[in-house]
Amino acid sequence: MRIAVAMLAGVVLALLASFGVVRVITTSQQDPVVKPLYNYGTR
């Protein structure tokens, strides 16, 4: 039972991590330059 619970939790964590990594890679491939150049940031 313990092994089954651990496997299930591991699968859920792996799915979440995979999703996150894909999002990170997708976002990091975008041009980091944001116009206009002189803003502190954008809300």
Binding site: A17, R23, S28, P32, L37, Y40, G41
Partner: protein, 565 residues
Amino acid sequence: MSRGSAAVAAGTGLVLGLLALGPALAPGFTLAYDMVFVPHPVFDRETFGLAGMLPRHVPSDAVVTALAQVAPADLVQKAILLAVFVIACVSASALVPSERRTARLAGGVVYAWNPFVAERLLLGQWALLLGYAALPWVARAAARGEPRRLVLALVPAAVGGFAAMAVSGLVVLVVGLHRPRPGRSVGVGRSGERRLPWLLAGLLVMSLPWLVPSLARFSGVPADPAGVAAFAARADTPFGTLGSLLLLGGGWNAETVPPGYGAAVTAVPWLCVVLFALAAYARGGRAAGLRGLGAAALAGLVLASLGAVVPGLLRWAIGLWPGFAVLRDGQQYVAPLAVVVAVGIGVAVDRVAGRRPELAALALLVPVALLPGLAWGAGGRLAAVRYPADWSRARAVVRAAPGDVLVLPWEAYRGYAWNGGRRVLDPLPRFLPGRVILNDAVRVGTGGRRDLRMAVEDPRARALDPLIRSGAPLTGALRARGVRYVAVDAPEEFATWAGRLPGAERVVTGPDLLLYRIPGAARSRAAPAAQWPTAIASFTTFAALVWSIRLLVGSLLAQSSPKEP
């Protein structure tokens, strides 16, 4: 907590820091928003808040400058950033009322790796994060009513400066106000009725380095109420602004949300984790001996939401007294809630570990799995770069013949190509020696509508503002006002500003920076500044630190027994 457990927590924090910083640990400097480190920094009036600007970087700049005298400045930056993760993991672990190492580590990991840390790190607010990292120590020292221990615990926040001390002050005030149960002591410190004044005295002494220059600032303390709309918390999850704050996010800047954060697939599980942690804290968190911490977290949540929920009230308050401007960027006050969440996670894992140790071990991975966007410098948003050679040449010129420097374009932030277009507060005031005049009025984009502009704060920049915006030639007026150099650090505007500097001599020409010398510029007269009060204030803080350091640093790591009140 045993020294072995503390070492494990420190190692875990170090691993988390390495994972989060990634490319920022390469040789060079990481420049992002408010995070500005420069090679070979030197002490000057600005370092101590004596140049007329608000002392936002006091004493953090002074500490960095001092450390950079014994180690390369880029290494100092990396050490400080890693220290944030190590201190956060160790201090939060020490607060979890459990004998199980897994439970303590779970609290430490979630405290070092969450949306608050991610958004503030990407915003470059390392000084605030230093105070955040040590907040669990501050909470425990305040709960025990020990001023000496509190002074020691406040050192990271004191290094950070006013924002870090404001958050720590909230915790000290609320926890200190909390009356212990009748007939029970408050640890080894003073009795409940007498402890608050001593705690506040400790807070005051550790705030002196930035408080005295603020009060002595010869042009007053300006505060633009327009900042309320610019810096109010905003929703970065599907749960609205308040929900986002509850999840420890909700920072004002949409650009500093870590990649992937806020999507329902991760936000919903993270919401479940936070609610689970809060429930666990409500049931078992009191065992940590931190009565009042929950109230501090609630008060912080209320302060964090003011700008978003009742902006008119905050604008009115700032108009009444500019000091209320510390509440404009309210999201920073959810930090005490992060402490509660960390303790709650630890309590929950402690209960699970008895029956399902494998699940407890997996809990250590949950924060990273739900927020993978922080990893590897948030997907490259943090990365080390080297300053261009032009900048070093300009510094050599100004150092050889000192004089005031005006920085153009007339904006505070830049997106240099050599920094990958990442926004950063213009580093020239720290890079060049002497007085450097920069337009410190920040501009915040609103995604379509007109940008929000804050007022200029530096008195000398305020005096030059109409001239520079007029479009008229600058050379003669700058000469009369004692400006000896003009540095232009945006290649796309080289031609524009060259046309407004007739007669100025170009002394540095490069692809990234032009430096002009204005012939015959008079030496400007420095405005009187409160040097002696500031020096006395810094000495007093240092003396308090020496007084407190008689406590062994290791005592901070001592476990707060579950039996303690």
